[in-house]
Amino acid sequence: MAAAMELRCWGGDWGLPSVHTESLIVLAYAKFSGAKVTVSPIDWTWKTLTATVPELLCEDSAVQEPAQILNFLRKRRFNADYELSARQGADTMAYIALLEEKLLPALLHTFWVDAENYANLTRPWFASRSPFPLNFLVPSRHANTALSRILLTKGEAPLHRITEVEGKIYSDAKECLNLLSYRLGTANYFFGNFSPLQSHLRQLDNLTSFCDNILAVYFNSDHPCPPPPVQETMAANLQKLTQLVNKESNMIEKMDDNLRSSPQHKPHRSEPKPSLATSKHSLLDTLGKVYGSHQQQL
């Protein structure tokens, strides 16, 4: 139980311990369950190409993939889901599946496929963290994997062009965010009222980093600091998280419009800043926008 555990993952930036979604999931779960894990980032090493991250090393066994790592931690009695009822555990699995199916393609797309984001943000970051000559290989390998995953799972006939796939992905993601915000409501956590959190909330943490990225890159406006998942007491911050989630779906809707530029939607393209400023005014305001436009879409 007291064996030292080492976690290999990508390093952190933008206010988060790690910019890699799967590494973030494992890190957050380790913190919540109280497991003592030493983090060794693989930045600037040759492991950026050769290793599969995240990877947990314990004694002489190596575990890969977030799901396996979480199982491994649970078996070692570092269990953040202990207090949940059976029904809540079942609901957790369902929400994780929903996130993977609806939200993950949009995340992958925004980070790795969208040309502007990739060129200005993702590739420079990953390239700068990899040693020469890997900085040419690592980002493009991730991008290819992401693109092929999106095309294979979402790009089936009759959606042949990438622009149609993009539209579908973002509308699915928006719907998923709405569903999650219904589920969270005004509670502090998805399940129960104490620090054990499920991995879908960790995905939400990644959403805040993603939405902060967009804010930083596109809008350059002030934004509330995202709560790093390492903090144990997140009560008030999670309220802010809900607001950010709603703002997030607002932004995804704008990207949706930008991608499709259909005449039946209001032209948001020229005014991103004022809309974002208004959306900061009140939670009700943002909710109204989200649900209003959602109704319009249907």
Partner: protein, 259 residues
């Protein structure tokens, strides 16, 4: 379809009532259809019966190619063709028949989440077992899939389909899994479904919803299909409330069908 086109089709759909001549197309039942397609088709049939909408089931060897999205099953209603359970549910909703109207927002969110769970786990596991497990692929899937065609077309089509499915499995990370791990995932999924169902007659208490139709389609097909090993069916049989759930839906909605 783009979203604007979808909205337009919904409006057109709402204009006409459900005709008597609606048909559902699937591959040939005795020789050709595979586990995953049979499950999806049964789910749609169960859903339409729960809504009380009559539909005739027609078997065609080229059903997969006729479908607008390449997936089975698809329905032909009036002058519109809609495939897959999700779009079909939206289509019937546009015509005024919906099973999930009585749910509030949180329940609807849960229902969608569970439907994704079933699609993610059960459907993917079925595809894996059919196409990525070599004994099953060689003995059952490839011969059945290519049975309407003569050599060499049969070989080409079967291997092409297998290659496509394996590529997809690799892309979503299931390529490296062993059969044991897949069975384990199916067990976990069934455990989640069993815990959610509890002792209720349907997932959302008294009324069946599209989630019930989807779960019934998959579980019933797995239980009644002969594969190279019975491991999958055995895993499901260990959850007694899921078994009685399947039996109840079969008796309520399919009783006129000879088993």
């Amino acid at each position: 379809m783009s979203l604007a086109a979808e909205a337009f089709v919904s409006q057109m759909a709402a204009a006409e009532p459900w005709p008597e001549s609606a048909t559902l197309y699937q591959p040939l039942k005795e020789d050709q259809i595979l586990l995953s397609d049979c499950a999806s088709s049964l789910a749609v049939q169960a859903y339409l019966r729960m809504c009380g909408l009559p539909v005739q089931v027609v078997c065609r060897a080229n059903a997969e190619y006729m479908s607008p999205s390449g997936k089975i099953p698809f329905i032909h209603v009036g002058n519109q063709v809609v495939s897959e359970l999700g779009p079909i549910v939206q289509f019937t909703k546009a015509k005024g028949n919906s099973l999930s109207d009585g749910l509030d927002d949180v329940q609807r969110a849960e229902m969608k989440a569970y439907m994704e769970l079933v699609n993610n786990m059960l459907l993917t596991a079925e595809l894996y077992i059919q196409w990525c497990d070599d004994p099953t692929a060689a003995e059952i899937s490839r011969p059945r899939y290519s049975s309407p065609y003569s050599w060499p077309l049969s070989n080409i089509l079967a291997y092409q389909k297998q290659w496509e499915v394996r590529r997809k499995m690799n892309a979503i990370g299931w390529g490296g899994k062993t059969l044991e791990q897949v069975y384990e995932d199916v067990s976990q999924c069934c455990q989640a479904l069993s815990q959610r169902l509890g002792t209720q007659p349907y997932f959302f208490n008294k009324q069946p919803t599209e989630l019930d139709a989807l779960v019934f389609g998959h579980l019933f097909t797995i239980l009644t299909t002969r594969l190279t090993s019975t491991e999958l069916a055995e895993r499901i049989k260990s959850y007694s409330n899921l078994l009685s759930f399947c039996r109840r839906i079969e008796q309520t909605y399919f009783e006129d069908k000879s088993s």
